[in-house]
């Protein structure tokens, strides 16, 4: 089985993201955000992107850099609470932002990965986010159609991957990564460590190799991966 080896360079990986592409980006805050793949994208400079991510990272970090560089037309996200720059760009209509409840965003992506057309939910039913959404009756209750989300490319961060693409995430760096890894046509993984195929325990693999197209090994983590001092409690 040693012939399956999905290793590639960050430059080749970034070249797979075309102008106008939809791109899912893993991460919830710093953990699980593929900062080095994002930096490769910044160098590649595709334009007119639709980004799908839980949040926009914080000002000057991660996908905020892509948005600040004007490469992103639309952002599909859950909240921007910690990023005043992107909120400002949204208010100035420099970027279109589509908000979803966090778990519904997760389910829409998961549904895309699971080959479903969508899910039915009552979340937000009595609020403005229900406006314009298709309603269905299920057991006498009115629920909303939330269509599944897919993307051209997913950028994923793993703690460990084998050469075939089996992945393991660490702690809260898991978040949206396994969902997005299932929902994109081309799945690019950056991994902190690559191991020989067969060394990960089959019961402990979080994302099976079938979902992964390309693997980029990141040897030296940039500063962005570290503990964010602004969130550390100072006694």
């Amino acid at each position: 089985m040693s012939m399956i080896d999905k290793n590639t360079t960050r430059k080749e990986a970034a070249a797979l993201v075309r102008d106008g592409a939809s791109v899912m980006v893993g991460g919830f805050g710093v953990p699980g955000t593929p900062f080095i793949l994002i930096d490769a994208l910044l160098e590649q400079k595709p334009s007119n992107l639709t980004l799908i991510k839980n949040e926009a990272n914080e000002d000057g970090m991660g996908i905020s850099k892509i948005i600040e560089a004007g490469m992103c037309r639309k952002l599909i996200t859950s909240h921007l609470g910690l990023n005043s720059t992107v909120i400002g760009m949204m208010n100035e209509k420099k970027i279109e932002v589509e908000f979803h409840p966090q778990g519904i965003l997760a389910e829409k992506i998961r549904a895309g990965g699971a080959g479903l057309a969508g899910i039915l939910t009552d979340i937000g039913i009595d609020t403005i986010i229900s406006e314009g959404k298709t309603k269905v009756e299920v057991n006498g209750e009115t629920v909303m159609v939330e269509e599944s989300l897919n993307a051209d490319v997913a950028l994923i961060h793993a703690a460990k991957a084998d050469r075939m693409g089996n992945m393991v995430y660490e702690k809260t760096a898991r978040n949206f990564n396994p969902l997005m890894a299932s929902a994109a046509s081309t799945v690019i993984v950056e991994t902190e460590e690559i191991v020989e195929t067969g060394t990960l325990s089959p019961d402990e693999i979080h994302t099976p190799a079938a979902f992964v197209d390309h693997i980029v090994v990141i040897d030296n983590l940039t500063e962005e991966y570290g503990v964010l001092q602004s969130h550390v409690i100072q006694d």
Binding site: G32, H100, T127, H231
Partner: protein, 217 residues
């Protein structure tokens, strides 16, 4: 004692042994510091933790371990990590005994408005709607009034709703108030306050069961 400490201490008393709970960002999270050290409780965080502990201090932070607000928590024995889909299955599936959220407004029928001020504040939704709609018990922790002194507890919300008829209890620096079918009911008054003050600062009728026997906190 600051108003934050007052609210946090009282909030901690809502949490019972063996419960699975979610503490929203801000005021609710502060309650964790006032839980008995040995309280067996499983604290959930939207980003994929069950079994969150207190905030890290003194350099014990782990770059891969944050809470939903971006802070660096410890974890307890028996903690687990999972993806965002499973995390919200715990919420929407009804496995949270209680959720604690801050707010902008609450109405007397339990409507919650805490995510948008048209034209001013619209940072997105996060996990708030799902916590509000699906926790078995929703407790709001908030200052009793806005910074301008205007009531946050109202007959009806003026801001876009987060969720309808979802609030069970409100804990402020002045009072503990339940939302019932009859409207707001005063359950406790702060030692530093009075029934009169609470009634005056509440923007909707407040049922006071027996003025002379309202417990203090």
């Amino acid at each position: 004692m600051s108003y934050k400490t007052k609210i946090a201490k009282r909030t901690a008393r809502e949490i019972g042994p063996g419960q699975v709970i979610n503490l929203g960002i801000g005021l609710p999270t502060l309650a964790m510091a006032y839980l008995p050290e040995d309280m067996p409780v499983l604290i959930h965080s939207e980003n994929g933790i069950l079994g969150m502990g207190r905030a890290c201090r003194n350099g014990t932070e782990d770059r891969n371990l944050i809470d939903a607000g971006g802070g660096y928590p410890e974890i307890v024995k028996g903690a687990s990590f999972f993806d965002s889909a499973l995390s919200f299955s715990i919420i929407r599936g009804g496995r949270l005994d209680a959720a604690f959220l801050g707010t902008l407004e609450v109405s007397m029928n339990g409507d919650l408005a805490n995510w948008i001020i048209p034209g001013k504040f619209a940072p997105g939704i996060g996990g708030g709607m799902e916590l509000a709609q699906k926790a078995r018990r929703l407790i709001i922790t908030t200052t009793h009034t806005t910074r301008k002194g205007e009531p946050k507890l109202l007959k009806g919300c003026t801001l876009p709703l987060t969720a309808k008829a979802c609030v069970d209890r409100i804990i402020t620096e002045l009072a503990v108030i339940d939302v019932t079918e009859e409207g707001f009911v005063l359950k406790e008054v702060a030692e530093e306050s009075s029934v009169d003050e609470v009634v005056q600062k509440t923007g909707a009728p407040l049922i006071v069961p027996d003025e002379n026997s309202i417990p203090t906190f």
